[in-house]
């Protein structure tokens, strides 16, 4: 009987102790929170940064521009294309040679053929005129978004460059337009 009373008393004491500890914890917590600070906030939302787009279309993209098969000394062949700015940024464009393959390699038809690049958007304007072998690139200027340019590329076999060694010779030439943002 007295043992039951004793354990009841211990339980009571333990409960009271827990109660006191809980109260202490709550008060400490409120002290920590209440002592923290006042705060104020402001925000600057909507900082939106967007990249533009530089692009163009080439009316003869991936296609043969000049078919000069069977060209003879004194003859020439030409092809035209339209370049249109399609992005929302202007770009400085160049037309560059991407490769030349002469068959046979010597004496090389590319050394005899003259490549002429003209801007024929308005009054024809010659931008470059040199042998295919020595041509590297030509600057076309800045093309604005939606701007349309027309170019003519001519391959000529000057009569003065006739060489019996070039009979049956072939040249493959690649050209590439590249625009770069300014």
């Amino acid at each position: 009987m007295s043992g039951e009373r004793g354990s009841g008393s211990r339980l009571k004491r333990a409960f009271v102790s827990l109660l006191v500890l809980a109260a202490l914890a709550v008060s400490l917590q409120s002290l920590v929170f209440s002592g923290a600070s006042f705060t104020a906030r402001s925000g600057d939302p909507g900082n939106i940064l967007t990249a533009g787009n530089l692009g163009h279309t080439n009316s003869r993209d991936g296609q043969l521009l000049v078919d000069a098969a069977g060209i003879l000394p004194g003859g020439s062949k030409a092809g035209t294309l339209t370049l249109t700015g399609t992005g929302d940024l202007p770009g400085a464009y160049t037309l560059a040679k991407t490769g030349v393959v002469d068959t046979p390699a010597f004496p090389g038809l590319s050394s005899a053929l003259v490549l002429t690049v003209e801007d024929i958007t308005a009054v024809p304007r010659t931008l470059s005129s040199t042998t295919v072998a020595s041509f590297t690139s030509v600057t076309l200027g800045v093309v604005a978004p939606s701007e349309v340019r027309q170019y003519r590329v001519t391959l000529a076999f000057p009569a003065g460059a006739a060489d019996p060694g070039l009979q049956g010779a072939a040249t493959a030439l690649g050209l590439q337009f590249t625009g770069v943002t300014q």
Partner: protein, 188 residues
């Protein structure tokens, strides 16, 4: 004899009553005349909470925006933060709400490439990727009331090497958009 005792008893009662009355009277005299008093008071002990607040010259608005960015472009903006409360406070700057949108066929996230520089006059507050600002405790310790700082933000789109293909290098960021919020917090 019996009557005598009764009388004597009555007298004793009277004497006791009289003595009690006397004691009461004496105590009243002592009680009423013994104390001087002096009092003072300290009223109007008023406790007012201070006010910590700040103004943001572009609160709720963007510090900088840019469209049609291209490699090499630089965008700038500035904001003035003022402690307009009556308590000193420390200030922090952080970012939130970072979003990136890529437009196919491009996959680049603009926040991966844009850099941010924040200056307080000649003092650099931050310089690094725009996505890595974290939380910056602004220099100056606790700002006194009325102290103001102007922060200049500069975002740069670094100009990388010439892309090797339509979706390579910088080309992969074409049409990309990113958005970010700058958050200012002051604490007493």
């Amino acid at each position: 004899m019996k009557r005598m005792r009764v009388l004597f008893g009555q007298r004793r009662l009277q004497v006791l009553v009289a003595m009690a009355a006397l004691l009461l009277a004496v105590s009243v005299v002592i009680g009423s005349g013994a104390n001087f008093t002096s009092t003072s008071a300290n009223p109007s002990n008023v406790f007012s909470a201070g006010n910590l607040s700040h103004s943001n010259s572009k609160a709720g608005a963007a510090i900088l925006t840019a469209a049609k960015m291209k490699p090499g472009d630089v965008v700038t903006g500035s904001v003035i933060i003022t402690n307009d409360g009556d308590l000193a406070g420390t200030f922090t700057l952080s970012t939130s709400g970072l979003t990136d949108t890529a437009v196919a066929p491009y996959t680049g996230k603009l926040s991966d490439v844009l850099t941010l520089k924040i200056m307080d006059g000649a003092t650099s507050i931050y310089s690094g990727p725009i996505k890595s600002v974290g939380t910056i405790t602004l220099p100056g310790g606790a700002w006194a009331p009325a102290v103001a700082h102007t922060y200049d933000f500069t975002v740069t789109f670094p100009n990388g090497a010439v892309p090797t293909g339509p979706t390579q290098g910088d080309n992969n960021y074409k049409k990309a958009t990113m958005s970010i919020q700058f958050d200012w917090v002051s604490a007493s």
